[in-house]
């Protein structure tokens, strides 16, 4: 029998649905840091991000019977995190650009991830520019470049058509270029 760490997310979720709480621990271990960095990027507050991620895990567990195993679990859990983050923003529980955010960023991004990012938007200075663009564009670019999601998966997270994701990604990059150039960062 395979170890739980060797199972796919969808296989683990099948176990969780059968009341295997331990298996849910593995899911949390896999997604805690990923979701934290994603939410930190959205709301710019590491403390609130922790609450949001915790609430994401709670909601995921509550609704796990509603997950369709034919689809990707990662898109589904990111969708829940997205909703929780949007709720936090609406509730105005944010937004300070505190030091923790930078720490989380430093800790969360592996060098291999950075290496894979499109060369033209690779520079570290780009972070500041990215924070300045609209949330929807920022989110698409984050999911595309940092979480390595395809348009289809991003569409599942944001609940928009894949074509819209493509448009937002293109606009986001364009805005990013303009903003970066204004700030003296040449892409």
């Amino acid at each position: 029998m395979r170890k739980i760490t060797e199972l796919s997310d969808e296989e683990i979720i099948a176990l969780v649905r059968g009341d295997d709480v331990d298996a849910y621990g593995e899911i949390m271990a896999r997604y805690e840091s990923k979701l934290t960095r994603y939410v930190v990027y959205l709301i710019h507050d590491a403390m609130v991000a922790n609450d949001v991620v915790q609430e994401t895990f709670i909601k995921t567990y509550k609704n796990v019977q509603g997950f369709n195993p034919k689809y990707k679990f990662s898109s589904w859990i990111y969708r829940i995190a997205h909703n929780e983050a949007m709720n936090a923003i609406k509730m105005d529980k944010h937004i300070t650009h505190d030091l923790d955010v930078e720490e989380v960023r430093e800790a969360a991004y592996e060098t291999t991830t950075i290496r894979d990012i499109d060369r033209s938007i690779l520079k570290n200075d780009m972070q500041a520019c990215l924070d300045s663009i609209d949330l929807k564009y920022r989110e698409v670019l984050m999911l595309q470049y940092y979480e390595h999601m395809k348009y289809d998966e991003i569409a599942d997270v944001l609940h928009v058509p894949p074509a819209t994701v493509g448009v937002w990604a293109a606009r986001g990059k364009s805005k990013l270029r303009v903003l970066c150039e204004k700030k003296g960062v040449h892409l």
Binding site: D22, E32, N50, Q54, I58, Q65, G66, Y71, P161
Partner: protein, 170 residues
């Protein structure tokens, strides 16, 4: 594995906190039945929205057919103002409400978000319009009419407007 061991296996305070809440019973999974009912509700709302729109379209088609009938349709024309006065506006409100609920359910609990809302709405309304026109020609959709719209617009001069006097505009 005991509950305590499970909690200890969690590596971060967040994981421990979540597992603790699950193991204490504070956080429970929603049952599968809940999600099945939600799906059923989505289908039901969509079908209901389609049917109400079809019903409205069949009535509107009926009115248009009376006005544009080649035959005198005297009775039907005479009753047209009554028909308009009794137009079921409640059905319009219901249709709008059902469409909104159906679209919301489809987008939040299904995968219809992959398609533009305008396209989904267009398909729903267009199919309902086709069904409604079909219903009108087949004589369905006018409660208590007991006969098709054809009867009201194609009645003999000896029995003008018989069909139009009956039915939903009573």
């Amino acid at each position: 594995m005991t509950k305590q061991k499970k909690t200890q296996s969690a590596t971060t305070p967040m994981q421990q906190a979540v597992l603790k809440r699950i193991e204490s019973g504070e956080v429970r999974m929603k049952s599968r039945v809940y999600f099945v009912l939600l799906t059923a509700l989505t289908i039901l709302a969509t079908v209901a929205a389609g049917l109400v729109i079809s019903y409205l379209v069949s009535i509107v088609t009926f009115i248009i057919r009376i006005q544009t009938a080649n035959t005198p349709a005297l009775g039907a024309r005479a009753n047209l103002s009554e028909a308009l006065a009794n137009f079921p506006w409640w059905a319009v409100v219901l249709a709008v409400g059902l469409v909104a609920v159906a679209l919301w359910l489809m987008r939040t609990h299904g995968r219809m978000y992959r398609h533009k809302t305008s396209i989904v709405l267009l398909v729903l309304v267009a199919s309902s319009v086709i069904l409604g026109v079909g219903m009108s020609y087949a004589g369905i959709g006018h409660p208590e009419s007991g006969m098709g719209v054809n009867h009201s617009t194609e009645q003999s001069p000896h029995d003008p407007g018989n069909g139009a006097r009956r039915g939903w505009m009573k």
